[in-house]
Amino acid sequence: MTRILKSIEEFEGEVSESLVIVDGHDLPPARHDGGSPEIGRSRRRIDATQRVTGRARYTQDLYLAGMLHARILRSPHARARVRRIDTKRAEALPGVRGVLHRFNTPKTPFRGDDVIFREEVRFVGEEVCAVAADDEDTAREALALIEVDYERLPHVVDLEEALGDVAPQLESDGNVSESGSHKRGDTKRALKEADVAVDVTYRTSTQLHNALETHGAVALYDGEMLTVWESTQHVFGVRTGLKNALKLPYSRIRVICDYMGGGFGAKNGVGKYTIVASLFAMRFGKAVRCVLTRDEENLAAGNRSATLQQLRLGAKGGRITAIEHTSWSNSGQGKWIANPTGPTNTLYEVANVNTRSYKVVTNAGSLSAFRAPGYVEGAFALESAIDELAEAAGVDPLTLRRRHAGAGKDPITGNRYSDKHLLECYRIGAKEIGWDRRRAGGTRGSAPHRRRGIGMASQIWGGGGGPPAYATVHVDPDGSVVLTAGTQDIGTGTRTVLAQICADELGVELDDVRVQIGDSAGPFGPMSAGSMTLASVGPAVRLAAHDAREQLLGAAAGVLETPKAELRLEAGAIVSKGARTPLGEVLGKVDNNTVIGKGIRFPNADDLAQKTFSAQFAEVEVDVRTGEIFVERIVAALDVGRIVNPLTAASQVEGGVIQGIGFALSEERIVDRALGRVMSGNLEGYKVPTVKDVPTIVVKFVDRPDRRANNLGAKGLGEPPIIPTAAAIANAVANATGARVRHSPLTRARVLEALALAGIRD
């Protein structure tokens, strides 16, 4: 029976309610007895061969016949009014097809603005013009021939400078606006009554995504359909963005993302490059490619906000009694911020909490979601501060956390957790790292000038996913299977785990399932963000496979003249009392041609909080003379529900830890305050970890299905592993040296400064 149900979803720290049309019933939780043929098995990626042989086609690889190349002219000024644009010389260049800019481009609503080329450009790298030409070099050459008359305006790029009185005010209501707060209990009183308190300020620098594949799109218009290939985390989001910008109906836009080289949150929706490519494609009736360079990627494709965070914590009788946390985030030209106080609000059971976060506008590129946005920055501050409090109170930091990590309810909504094993994560992680080897004040390192230490930190995050998400399973007459689902594989291994779920439930071999995703022509699905893909799409896939299996068994009952109850579908064959009939043989006897199973994601319970939890433990050595940090070992123990594929899951964790190490030690966007220019605009200046920076990473899963979450019992895993890494490392460094570095990344210079402050430098 078709009906409407209420659902509660959490997306990156924000909880919302939705209404979903459903039909039929959800499946009971999948069995977890080790007997599943696919779920819980390590499988290499089903597209591994395609990827490593270079056959997998990414957006950047797409060269269509007669394709034009678009390139974007970007503002060299941090803030300026575009008064006049002269494109005569550019247009006269042979091979140039056209130029778009604010004086000739129709209104194309984009993220709150009604144009893509603004009169006032507000950061170095903001889009001013776009050129389409027959080839990329000509387009680039044409950019240099465009003359723009800028009226320069005063700017501010630095977070703390923007907070001050002398900074130019960029919005009518100033640079600073409140974006969220939470209060429970009475922190003032609790702090007054505390035995010990710490009052500390933390800073985190701007981190850039730098996915392997830069942002980009190829658009093709044939007079009826606009087809866009894009490196995106959400084909349907790009479709919506194009619908709004270009006023085309959904039915005439198709967005495809077959393979992509990562996004980390920066590719959640339509980009100006998509609109540029589409506008040119519609004007010229040709394919148009607009792909960003690495430098453009680091200017105008999003970032993790720099933050300034103040925390006051109090403890009494060896327990945390109060946390105050105020945070300011540099949103650049972004219209929102990711909330760094999220972990403070929810991670621990503490009676008195008071948090507030502020958005600070500056003349820098917009923030965008970045793998656990807000929580990475917030966890660095909170989890460092908890260690500082533990030290002040003379309590082992893990013991202190244990006292507050057992709560069964979300402290904000009061809803019970669908499941929670944070204490188990502590137990597993502590054992694996050898927490009992940890000594207050650290131990001697492998050389006289080296100190060794152990630290840990924990994490909370959503990842329960939710509706809407849809899947279909087509079984062809030969018994081969096509699974179509509304999602895209952004590099996480989605194709593989969905194929496993389908094969498992349907009863066919993994190799028999072909997965068709990343196409808005198929059923709808959510953004691959917020660690919600598996928990949203997986249950729909299971239901679709179940639906198909029921139909196949019904058909087989007729063909084999055996009661359905006596039939099973196993490894691609109908099994009846020991006799195996291949599926193709059964289907060959009827003329249906295709069996179609359908599945949807059923709603979440509206009285439960679905969360993921984990803890990470770091062991480091610190050279106290040069300030170098050597991360030797990271242990990650995670509670993310049931693990569908231990191999790809571990690989997700490793990736998150490595990106967390980058955030902790070397990744930092550096901007020249006077000119507003990004000085670390490519991979030479911006240091992501290399293989030599990667320590031993031990991954442990609690691996217990969250039966109240969804029919798979699985939750998301993309973001949890990056959240606690930096704090675990900073806590290990503090344990090793006695010096607390309160600014990530913990560069050599910052470590030395902290050592000097602690009086440890010789």
């Binding site: 003379r625 040069t626 300030g627 000085m679 670390s680 200046g685 240091k687 290399t690 030599k692 920076d693």
Partner: protein, 260 residues
């Protein structure tokens, strides 16, 4: 005329639009430039790659410097001639060549000239090489095993050094050479530090390994740092560079003094 050997610097310049040469001549397959001759004296052809320097190529410090450079792909392409041609203060082989008191061999239609490394670099990415000259080799006297190269950077691999230091103690010739990278407009030779180190070896005996006192190592570091002329940039501050040099100076001395 622009020549291309490994292209690890030139291609960056081209890709960033900083240079648009009319003609480029690739010299990476000129066999005459790729030889290494050794007989107490080393003549290393300009086309020798970093990968080849990793193996014994006439200087332990040079091998250590080569190991710090880039990724395997970069080490397979980049050459000592390219490092000399670019003449960046951050060129990792250059502090070693300075410490070895190497000679740069330049050739043009007018003939060959031999320039002591100390006279070769004149500023950041500037040298005495004339536009019509090709770097054909670097030469130096083999100095024995007491030598090392150290650097600090912003991460553990594939990163331009924030500060680099080469130290060569030629026990046979009773000579100490120190070269400092990334801490001035050219590679710096800290004369006072070298003099101080010579004094230490005079005292301890040139032929024997010894363990320098902590205070001596520290003093050497101080003299090294005092000679540097670092600047603040994206990679690090002048203060950090100076500090790092002091630490590396002390460590380098402790390491090489124990090698004989």
């Amino acid at each position: 005329m622009t020549v291309l050997a490994g292209g690890t610097d030139l291609m960056v310049e081209l890709n960033f639009g900083r240079r648009r040469p009319e003609h480029i001549v690739a010299i990476d397959r000129v066999g005459e430039l790729a030889g290494i001759e050794r007989n107490g004296h080393v003549r290393m052809g300009a086309g020798v790659t970093y990968t080849r320097m990793l193996a014994d190529a006439g200087s332990q410090a040079l091998a250590e410097a080569a190991r710090t450079i880039g990724s395997p792909q970069i080490r397979n392409a980049g050459t000592i001639g390219g490092n000399l041609g670019t003449a960046s203060p951050a060129g990792d082989t250059l502090p070693v060549l300075a410490a070895l008191e190497a000679t740069v061999v330049l050739r043009s239609k007018a003939g060959e000239r031999r320039v002591p490394f100390a006279d070769y670099m004149t500023g950041p990415k500037k040298s005495v090489r004339r536009a019509d000259e090709l770097i054909v080799a670097a030469e130096w006297d083999e100095a024995g095993p007491a030598q090392t190269y150290m650097f600090v950077s912003t991460r553990n691999a594939m990163a331009i050094s924030i500060a680099g230091l080469a130290m060569v103690v030629d026990r046979a010739r009773k000579r100490v050479g120190i070269g400092l990278g990334s801490c001035g407009p050219t590679i710096i030779r800290p004369a006072d530090a070298e003099g101080f180190a010579r004094g230490l070896f005079d005292e301890a005996g040139w032929e024997r390994p010894h363990r320098p006192s902590e205070s001596a190592a520290k003093e050497l570091g101080r003299l090294v740092a005092a000679a540097a002329r670092p600047i603040d940039d994206v990679r690090g501050t002048a203060a950090y560079r100076r500090h790092a040099l002091a630490v590396m100076g002390a460590r380098a001395l402790s390491r090489v003094a124990q090698i004989a």
